[in-house]
Symmetry: none
Subunit: 200 residues, 4 copies
DNA sequence: GATGAATGAGAATTCATTCAT
DNA sequence: TATGAATGAATTCTCATTCAT
């Protein structure tokens, strides 16, 4: 059904190859340090070819980020919009983000989370631009949250998500559910209700 | 009476001049983008002079960061160690960090918070390396917190502090106390107890 | 028929162009004084291009030197290993070295012989690393020389060869054979048997 | 008797200090690599002070070289002019040069002999500009040598002296007399009469 | 479209020398 | 004269981007 010329296939394939290489390089060297040349070298392609697909490192990054955002954002929105309780809402957000962060360990999660461009990107993913704030506002309308500063709450959720993801990365800790639960409890009921740890 | 020779004064002055220029340039262009040359150009000094004071951009940044860390860390530790309640502990941390972030609007806060080096630096300031985690552990001994994963809690606090500071920066919002209170309530008692907003 | 693509040709040509330029510049300004920029400027190429071919000035020099060593060393070894008498052995060494030094008047010989890197290079050529010493030892086995300190003898031969080559260069004297004969006699039978000069 | 103002003493002392430092630095890093700054740093003096005494690195070197030349040249000339036989003449030259080279192990001899400026300097010392050639010519008049190309002979002697000094340096061999004898025999009667070695 | 060498602007850094103190 | 910080020209090298094949 899908009749593509060989050329088209190659074309799309190269795009893919570059994106994957970029992912690896960003993950290894950090977005900042990585050079276009590094990306090309991680590829069987020639340097000039890069510019047939992307105009710059930034553009590759954007593509990479958008790719993820496109997969993750709808998931997040759906879960949040379906949430019946504040617990559902918050837990969905953390669970989805943390499990994505983990699943993408070799790709985006492996990218230094603190890298500024990258961070902006990740934030965009979690918050979905302003998805999170809007979802919070909608949820507030539905009575899930008390009336509060949605933007600040969104910021807090994002902040926690990032830092906790980073701790998980350092610990090479993989119990996403427990981490997500920790975050949710913290946001929902505060430190007093956070589940007591045995040890990690 | 004039204990410092003119020379020494000039020398110290130049250091200051470079640090201030760096601050401005980092703030304007971001740490990443900024070049040593940019810093020099923001200065009446010659290029070589820079290298009489710092060996690289990294070193200037470190000096800038340490300057702040030196002022802020002791404050934070003292307040947290004196805290009689979890509220005191958490509130002190947020208040101090957010007010510092604000006070330094032209300096570090103005530096792109999302820049990775910068962010690592700021994290070091707030957490003081591991100050925060250790303080949480000590406070837990004192019974201020239930037994919990101190590292995760520290991460959560840092995450919130950052993101909220950033929102404040964007809003050019100056009510530090309200923001600090918001953060504290969230951490302590969760979203349900966060003070209801009129609007900003 | 045209086995090498135009591209490959250009590439090889550029390498040649750089080597030749380096030769000229080294010869004119001395290896020490010469800068990579000087070499580039003696070329129609762009500065970056240099670094597509060589990593540094040192590397160009090494290439230049090796080029010569590759041509000269085998010649020398063969002649010396075939030598039936001490006379043959010594004469071959001087003749080959001096004639090479002369033939390369525009290339290596023109390079300041006294420059240390250069000199080390030339020494490597004449002695071929340790070729000369080893050849002397082998010749001693064959009974061409009395048992003696091969390393010192090699050193003496090299020393004479250099200095005499330098005198020839200054004199723009071209009678290689006479110079070689002079050196050989000196080494073989000493000053008393050196052929009496009219004058130069 | 020698009434010098303190100032004059200091002045001469500083000159000395710089010369000694330069010697050490040249010896350690090589003339080429050494920078004026290195020399200054090897001194308790300030950078500006250097320029009260010397205009450049070259000038320090020249002073250093001349100092030695002034000590060594007269010795050499005297010995050579007094020489009754070719043996005396040649042996005196090698012995004096090699022993000087050795005695100055921490100073000039330690300087990379192959460094071009240095080499030119050393050559000047051994040959004394043209001393050696002139002395050879004079000795030839006296019948010590057959009529021959004095310049070439001088060159040969210098070449041998240098290379052998270098071998000695590498070997950390200290038997100057044996080395000098080797060189003399070689020059006087050639390889066949060079004393047979046991081993080094 | 793919190739990969050429390009050259630009960044970091060094260091001989000057000059105010 | 001594000091040592300031100077800035000069150098090396990198890397995004172009372009002939």
């Amino acid at each position: 059904m899908d009749i593509r010329s060989k050329r088209t296939q190659t074309k799309e394939n190269n795009r893919r190859v570059i994106l994957d290489a970029a992912r690896g390089v960003f993950g290894r060297d950090g977005y900042r340090t990585a050079t276009v040349r590094d990306i090309i070298n991680a590829t069987p392609l020639a340097s000039g070819t890069f510019y047939n697909y992307f105009r710059s490192k930034e553009e590759v990054y954007a593509a990479l980020r958008d790719e993820i955002a496109h997969e993750v954002r709808p998931l997040l929105r759906t879960e949040r919009q379906r949430a019946q309780t504040a617990d559902d809402f918050v837990a969905a957000t953390f669970r989805t983000f943390l499990s994505q962060a983990q699943r993408r360990a070799q790709s985006l999660a492996a990218i230094d989370l603190r890298d500024d461009q990258m961070l902006a990107g990740m934030r965009m993913i979690v918050m979905g631009g302003d998805d999170l704030r809007r979802d919070i506002e909608a949820a507030t309308e539905r009575g899930l949250f008390p009336k509060l500063d949605a933007e600040l709450l969104a910021a807090a959720i994002v902040g926690i998500a990032f830092e906790v993801a980073d701790v998980m990365r350092q610990r090479q800790h993989t119990d996403v559910n427990r981490a997500a639960q920790f975050c949710s409890e913290l946001i929902l009921r505060g430190v007093t209700s956070v589940p007591v740890e045995g040890d990690r």
